[in-house]
């Protein structure tokens, strides 16, 4: 492999691992915020327990999202300094706003939410989880603004060999950013919904003691998954009007169209191969759509079935199916991401800067070593996350530590500052 391909692989692994974790984070944060709202408003003990149980699963996963996010944040400057030098003055603003409006506030308030449990006023504590959820959305939004610019550059001018931000509103309003944001958000809610339904179905199938708890959770998960599936497909479909000509010709798989696009691009940018790899783009796109059909069918039937108490209690094949569905939204999200990102190749900034030109001047050894190190760490993280989530999900609400009251009364605190 060429060094640039290794660097691409490294970026793809980082983004892909991060994307898996944040998809679940966004979905579960929403569900936990809804549960905590119910618990706070009604004071119902079961919803308080639900908040703590799902909140703990959310946190285990969140930790993975945050550490892969840290790596992500440094990837552009590390391996793609050509991109930051050429276009950083434009899409770098979106990244800067993301770190300040979203990442900074989200982390700060999440710390308060975790460690301030039973310490803060309950309404303030509820407000915290909503701030955390909304700033997680904001994070996705500004990242999609940055990504939307790379997909479909708008709002810039070329000056002295580098791009300059000319129209901030145009960059933010870019349909390639706006539509993709809602699409990704829908996908994340779908992921969270199926996760909650699948874990609940496991407990219903095993007839564990918490029937009422998981019946309610199953309803909430499926109740979110079905509308989220409709929502996400709507914003997915709308994006097809904004596909780049090269991606769209490869997707249509029409030889003549591809040749025309190639000829137009070569006339504009000089000789070269301007089409993304046909196989991966088409396979990813088809996979995304097929799995969406699977999910909408399962979610639709399940929403009907969950109206029948006996089915919820003892229809085991259905419970099995729902648990087996947990990975499906993740695979679908990754397929959609491959379709979008591989489909942009060979461009880093579509029509303006190629991926090869975007790379930092690194040696093959440097990239090989870092790739091996990051791959090992991500593999370990994914394995630990899967193992811990499965373990805590199986153990059920009885073993939750989050939000536990301290066993013994704390002695009088002494101020330190």
């Amino acid at each position: 492999m060429e060094t640039v391909d290794l660097a691409r692989l490294q970026f793809a692994l980082t983004a892909g691992a991060h994307f898996l974790f944040v998809a679940l984070t966004l979905g579960l944060a929403t569900l936990v915020a809804v549960l905590q709202t119910r618990a706070t408003v009604t004071g119902s003990p079961i919803h308080q327990r639900m908040t703590r149980f799902w909140g703990q699963l959310y946190l285990i996963n969140y930790a993975m999202g945050i550490v892969t996010g840290l790596v992500m944040e440094f990837q552009l400057g590390l391996a793609w300094s050509g991109l930051t030098e050429y276009a950083g003055n434009v899409f770098g603003s979106a990244l800067a706003i993301e770190t300040l409006v979203a990442f900074f506030v989200e982390s700060t308030f999440l710390g308060l939410w975790i460690f301030g449990w039973n310490r803060l006023n309950r309404w303030a504590h509820l407000a915290l989880i909503w701030v955390v959820t909304l700033t997680a959305y904001a994070s996705a939004f500004w990242i999609m603004v940055a990504n939307g610019f790379l997909q479909r550059p708008v709002g810039h001018v070329l000056e002295g060999g580098a791009l300059r931000l000319a129209d901030f509103g145009a960059m933010v309003g870019n349909p390639a950013a706006q539509l993709a944001f809602w699409h990704v958000l829908g996908g994340a809610l779908l992921t969270g919904g199926f996760f909650m339904a699948g874990v609940s179905a496991y407990h219903l199938r095993k007839r564990t003691a918490e029937q009422d708890f998981f019946r309610k959770s199953l309803r909430l998960g499926l109740g979110l998954a079905l509308p989220a599936a409709m929502f996400t497909v709507t914003f997915g479909g709308l994006q097809f009007s904004y596909l780049q000509p090269s991606k769209s010709s490869v997707w249509a798989n029409r030889t003549q169209l591809m040749a025309e696009t190639q000829a137009t691009m070569a006339a504009l940018h000089g000789p070269g191969d301007y089409l993304p790899p046909v196989g991966p783009v088409r396979v990813a796109g088809v996979l995304m759509m097929v799995l969406w059909v699977v999910m909408i069918v399962v979610a639709g039937l399940s929403v009907l079935l969950m109206a029948f108490r006996p089915a919820v209690r003892s229809f085991r094949p259905w419970h099995w199916l729902l648990t087996l569905m947990i990975p499906v939204p993740f695979v679908t999200m990754l397929a959609g991401w491959v379709f979008r990102e591989v489909g942009r190749q060979p461009w880093a900034v579509y029509g303006l800067l190629t991926t090869a030109d975007a790379m930092s001047p690194l040696t093959a050894v440097q990239v090989r070593v870092s790739l091996a190190a990051f791959t090992t760490v991500f593999a370990v993280l994914i394995a630990i996350n899967y193992w811990l989530l499965a373990r805590h999900a199986r153990r059920g609400p009885g073993a939750v530590v989050l939000g536990d009251r301290p066993a013994e009364p704390a002695p009088a605190p002494v101020p330190t500052f």
Binding site: L70, E73, A79, S81, N89, A96, S107, T108, L388
Partner: protein
């Protein structure tokens, strides 16, 4: 203005996160048993998330206001920055995952990750700062790097002395003899600030072109960011009274 914004977040990181990195480095010294270590971690638990985002914000400000420097600094110090990020990930995983399994072996393993990651962070920072400040590379750069790491460690001890109780507090106060805890913290914080400012003065700080759009946005945000952190500091202003969620 761009330079002040960058300095604000970078120096904020050094002082705030410097303390929890230092506590991580001193973890085997401060906590001799699993339970003691858990209490030491509780001293930084509510803060470390809110502290490390100062570096996230610094990277964001670099990306937005100094994109050229961002590329130069990160790709120019590729291996060091990769090492820094990996140490950061390992340390965070140690902190986050420690309490998720009630097994002594697992907790010792996670504590090991926290300590190794904290030392890794302090040393890569030391190497980065000595490269920027003194232009040193190779084995000789380890000397200033160890000095910087020692500074992080001392800063961690002074912070721990402010947060812990009893025997743990005494151990943390070993360098100051137990008195003037707040003054000792202020001193190590000032030393870290000085290192940060001196390194900053050596950097080619030429802002990019998005300042007119971005600077007002960032300036408007800063009071809210500081207020949100202030809420955390106020909520957890008392000494640690027992183990936390971590």
């Amino acid at each position: 203005m761009e330079i002040f914004i960058l300095a604000f977040f970078a120096l904020g990181y050094l002082v705030l996160a410097g303390a929890d990195i230092g506590v991580g480095m001193a973890l085997p010294y401060l906590g001799r048993s699993g339970d003691e270590r858990r209490e030491v971690i509780a001293a930084i638990a509510p803060f470390f998330l809110g502290n490390e985002v100062w570096l996230v914000a610094t990277a964001g400000v670099l990306a937005g206001l100094f994109p050229e420097l961002e590329g130069e600094l990160l790709s120019g110090n590729y291996t060091l920055v990769v090492g820094l990020v990996l140490a950061w990930v390992i340390r965070d995983m140690g902190l986050w995952l420690r309490g998720r399994l009630p097994r002594p072996g697992w907790q010792a393993f996670c504590d090991g990750a926290t300590v190794a990651g904290s030392w890794g962070l302090a040393l890569t920072w030391g190497l980065l700062l000595s490269r920027v400040l003194l232009g040193l590379e190779g084995p000789v750069a380890m000397v200033p790097a160890l000095v910087v790491a020692a500074l992080f460690g001392t800063h961690g001890l002074t912070f721990a002395a402010l947060r812990l109780r009893g025997a743990l507090r005494e151990r943390a106060g070993v360098l100051t003899g137990g008195g003037g805890e707040a003054r000792a913290y202020a001193l190590t914080a000032a030393a870290l600030l000085a290192v940060g400012v001196l390194a900053g003065l050596r950097l080619p700080l030429h802002p990019g072109t998005s300042g007119p759009v971005l600077v007002p946005v960032v300036l408007a945000l800063i009071p809210f960011l500081v207020a949100s952190q202030g809420w955390v500091w106020w909520t957890f202003r008392h000494r640690v009274t027992g183990p936390s969620y971590l």
